[in-house]
């Protein structure tokens, strides 16, 4: 067949696309159970970590989660309840628009909803090395024990170490991501307060 002709070109392009995409589809299908399992595990682990529930090994996460965390829904708003060290703690899975894509994570509050007890990022599409640093430990750890004055928190600090003022450090070079995250968290704190009243 003439390799410069239109028929050959069309047939070749079709076959090439078909073969490569078929292999990809098979790979995607083959890895899907693992990917979904990883995703579920990531979310349950984030909920446990935000609530401050210890787990001895990663493979025990689903069991401990089933045993200690209770899922509650009030008017289509789902949140989680757990007793840690004799106190009730609330957690909520948040998601909202960051700078480039959706940021999802878990925020845990104490019984009176007056302090944050834990914060974990599950997934984001922010710039690696800039906004992407919201998933690093130094960022999430500064939320631990932070008071929530007037029902809102701020992510705008610059070397802020005071746990009473409701302000945590923003990420240098990622002001927009920090602002977006601040908006998301405040929205969910309000919803949680509404649901528990």
């Amino acid at each position: 067949m003439n390799r410069r002709g239109l028929t050959y070109t069309v047939i070749f392009t079709f076959l090439a696309a078909f073969v490569f995409v078929a292999v990809l589809a098979l790979t995607a299908e083959g890895t899907r159970p693992r990917v979904e399992l990883n995703q579920r595990l990531l979310e349950t682990r984030a909920i446990l970590e935000a609530l401050g529930i210890e787990y001895p090994a990663p493979d025990q996460i689903p069991g401990i989660y089933e045993e200690r965390v209770r899922e509650r829904t009030e008017e289509d708003f789902t949140f989680y309840e757990a007793a840690v060290d004799g106190n009730t703690r609330w957690a909520v899975r948040f998601s909202g628009a960051g700078l480039w894509g959706t940021i999802t994570g878990v925020l845990a509050l104490n019984e009176e909803l007056s302090r944050i007890v834990g914060f974990e990022i599950v997934d984001h599409n922010e710039t690696p090395g800039l906004g992407g640093r919201i998933s690093e430990d130094w960022f999430s750890e500064q939320f631990d024990g932070e008071r929530i004055p007037d029902g809102t928190i701020g992510i705008r600090g610059d070397g802020d170490t005071d746990p009473e003022n409701g302000v945590v450090d923003a990420v240098t070079g990622a002001t927009r991501t920090s602002q977006a995250l601040e908006g998301i968290l405040n929205r969910y704190i309000r919803s949680l307060q509404g649901a528990l009243q």
Partner: protein
């Protein structure tokens, strides 16, 4: 280009005399974007090395069947194929790394080096030597990016591979975290490399 270049010559060209970054000035977007910490840079460049090698191999294997009119589209298809494979494997088996890398795996598709090597080398050379060319091009890209990331992470965060190495009183240079610093460092790198080449009389 000769159809049968020797392995040593190819290695030397891709690492030094025709390096994709500081001679061909390709793949600059990723050089600017991911090089502010060594771990992300390392993983992303490993992805690029894998994709360049196998794209070159595949293009070279089927080159005689590819109609000239659509060869670039077919090359893009092959590149995208390997990048998605890398992405799927990372998601399934190394979820932590996949998370850290975020959108940058997908962006390997747009790295000009890969298509550049497929078009300039694999399209006119036998499979094994094409694979070698892709591998060394990728490695030539890798070491330049790691060198830039070394300085950016050290001065921007005071760390190397995430470990604190600078003394406590060190004030991080915020500019090093931002993309513009990669321009300065890349410029300095090109300057140094060219100066060394001129001294050796090896410049083109």
């Amino acid at each position: 280009m000769k159809s049968q270049a020797s392995t040593v010559t190819i290695l030397k060209e891709n690492f030094w005399t025709n390096n994709p970054i500081f001679i061909q000035i390709l793949g600059i977007c990723s050089t600017l974007a991911v090089t502010n910490n060594l771990v992300n840079t390392g993983i992303m460049t490993v992805g690029v090395v894998f994709v360049t090698s196998f794209t070159n191999l595949t293009v070279s294997l089927i080159k005689s069947f590819i109609p000239r009119k659509v060869r670039m589209i077919v090359q893009t298809l092959i590149i995208a194929f390997y990048v998605i494979i890398v992405d799927l494997v990372l998601r399934a088996y190394l979820p932590e790394i996949s998370k850290a890398l975020g959108p940058y795996v997908g962006l390997i598709i747009t790295n000009c080096i890969i298509m550049g090597r497929a078009e300039a080398f694999a399209q006119s050379n036998p499979p094994l030597i094409s694979f070698w060319d892709g591998l060394t091009s990728g490695l030539g890209y890798m070491y330049v990016l790691l060198a830039i990331a070394f300085f950016r992470e050290l001065l921007g965060f005071g760390t190397l591979f995430g470990y604190q190495v600078m003394p406590d009183g060190f004030v991080p240079w915020t500019i090093m975290i931002m993309a513009p610093s990669a321009f300065f460092l890349l410029g300095l790198f090109i300057w140094t490399a060219k100066a060394v080449m001129l001294r050796k009389g090896g410049a083109r």
